[in-house]
Amino acid sequence: MTTPGTPTATPNPAALPDALGRFGAFGGSYIPETLHHAVEQLASAYADAKQDPAFQNELDGLLKNYVGRATPLYFAENLTKHVGGAQIYLKREDLAHTGAHKINNSLGQALLTLRMGKTRVIAETGAGQHGVATATAAARFGLKCDVFMGTEDMRRQQPNVTRMKLMGANVVPVTSGSCTLKDATNAAMRDWMGSSEDTHYIIGSVVGPHPFPMIVRDFQSVIGRECRAQCLDQLGQLPDHIIACVGGGSNAAGIFYPFVNDVDVKLVGVEAGGRSTALGDHAAPLSLGSPGVLHGSLSYVLQDPDGQTATVHSISAGLDYPGVGPEHSYWHDSGRVHYTAATDAQALDAFQQLTRLEGILPAIESSHALAQALQLAPTMPPDQTLVVNLSGRGDKDLDEVVRLLGMG
């Protein structure tokens, strides 16, 4: 479904964003003036932290001993045999502490919070994974934590609500709009407008105003750096394809970014195709949307002709979002990454296949990437390799899957 845009003139796409937070035409900072100071302060704290070896050492230590990194690159032998074609490898972010890649970012931003001398963090969450990761980081560092979550998502992801509460976070139910991730994001931004003096907003994906898309990508890039080294070590070469699911796009940005200049490695982002291609039935802005402004940046979005945000649908609460990170829009238009979509049914099927064949219960989000791998692998020769970013584990989805499969 990719429409290749104008080829970029930028010699090194890995050097983006520019000083204004632009990835080509996308990104920027479309925020109320009231937030400008907080965002500037964050940009400055991050620039400072990046230059500070002590900051990187502390983060590296936490990622190793607290999160359990490096996460394995696992050869899915049974799945490979079953579908035929390319060798399928899984980057096991599901094995990271708290069960998803989200913790990489939450810990990094929690350290930035301490660096800025702030005592409270807030977060938005859809599937609850980012909320859990942020509640975890807050517990670890003694920060006060409020997590905004749509009431529809609280219903779908009840175990994660309990986990957050047990870790001392306050879960704030959001009842406005569609009661899902975009509304939780609105609520968090609104809180931050009045609280930024002592509060840092830990955005969970590569979305929002500059510098958030850059910061979250950088913290998640540990996935791609590890994966690149593991491929060279285990395969003796880089993989042919890397596939990741894309909601806001943080796990995808994290695994893609260190490969952006490896032009022979094909990168594939998989959005939530939902139940049909009609507006309102999916959450695939790159595949089916157009550029617009949402939550502080210019990127592909799903909107009606007036500019009102469209309702979205996906069985995955983590992909159920009408926007996407601006760098993905840039990669989409430059043709560097191919974006496609997997339907609810395809994702559910992939979920079951991985569970049965490998004994690994993937998150419904990650199952979208798996679904694409199951389609792509048989079209590739057996001497080629394909890496799927298994961004999270599926325990949180059990109730919903049982309901959807009619097993209840």
């Binding site: 003036e33 009231t34 100071h37 002709p305 007036d306 009102q308």
Partner: protein, 271 residues
């Protein structure tokens, strides 16, 4: 000359100040909006800010957000808003300012939006989520169409940036007071007079203060140091409550505006 510039120039000539209520277009239906706007004028308003409803208004508080949800649920479309304004323009001398998320503007195309707003009869624009760093194309477009473009200055805006924003505004500068002013009697937020003085030193453009202004006492305090008082949530809440209780929002608009406007008297010559 732009109507808003003319209006402030006239007020300054008389040592008088402006009341600028905000209403959400389509809250209660566009026919209600069409009756509310003239009622604001009868009550003593000089300028009306008309909020274009947006599904995800991160710059607005819960009262205005809820009003936007109601307006969208009532089927309010941009084209309908422009038609409503065009129909009432010949019958009102109010300055009409569209307050609209840049999400809506971008989707419709900046030039097309500004052109259509001007043709409908709007005199000015506020894009509350378009900071000065991104605003040059919008400033150019508004200038070409003869519309004012007001930007917001917040308490957290550093002084040199505040001066830069004030100098880039046309029509008036939108000065965000501290959030907690409602219910604090006639006390001005700490530091507001000093902030306003900084802006005064930087520009002659009128200064309008908003956020949390909800009573005649607030209006009196604000216009003792500024050129205009903006009343947003308090107006929106009252109009909705009136409708809920079976009353006429237009009557409430006139009544409440008249009460607020009493705060303009006695401030003459100050500031």
């Amino acid at each position: 000359m732009n109507r808003i510039d003319e209006l402030f120039s006239d007020l300054r000539g008389r040592d008088a100040k402006a009341l600028m209520p905000f209403v959400t277009a389509g809250d209660g239906g566009l026919d209600t909006t069409a009756r509310v706007i003239p009622a604001l004028e009868r009550g003593g308003a000089s300028v009306c800010e008309i909020g274009i409803p947006f599904s995800d208004p991160i710059a607005d508080g819960p009262v205005i957000q809820a009003s936007m949800t109601r307006a969208l649920d009532a089927g309010t479309r941009l084209s309908g808003i422009f038609e409503t304004i065009a129909a009432l323009r010949p019958n009102t001398r109010l300055g009409l300012v569209a307050m609209v998320s840049y999400s809506i503007v971008y989707r419709n195309g900046l030039d097309a939006f500004v052109r259509d707003a001007g043709q409908a009869g709007f005199d000015g624009l506020i894009f509350p989520d378009l900071p000065i760093d991104e605003a040059q194309p919008a400033r150019d477009a508004a200038g070409e169409a003869g519309l004012t473009l007001s930007m917001l200055v917040s308490p957290s805006t550093p002084a040199d940036r505040a001066r830069r924003i004030a100098q880039a505004c046309t029509g008036f500068v939108y000065v965000v007071s501290r959030g907690g002013i409602t219910g604090e009697g006639s006390t001005l937020p700490a530091g507001l007079p000093e902030r306003l003085q900084t802006l005064r030193d930087a520009t002659d453009t009128p200064l309008a203060v908003g956020f949390g202004v909800s009573s005649p006492e607030h209006v009196r305090s604000v216009v003792s140091v500024a050129d205009a008082a903006i009343v947003g949530s308090a107006m929106v809440r009252r109009l909705h409550d009136a409708a809920e209780q079976g009353g006429d929002p237009a009557d409430e608009a006139e009544r409440f505006t008249r009460a607020l406007a009493s705060g303009l008297i006695g401030s003459v010559g100050v500031g």
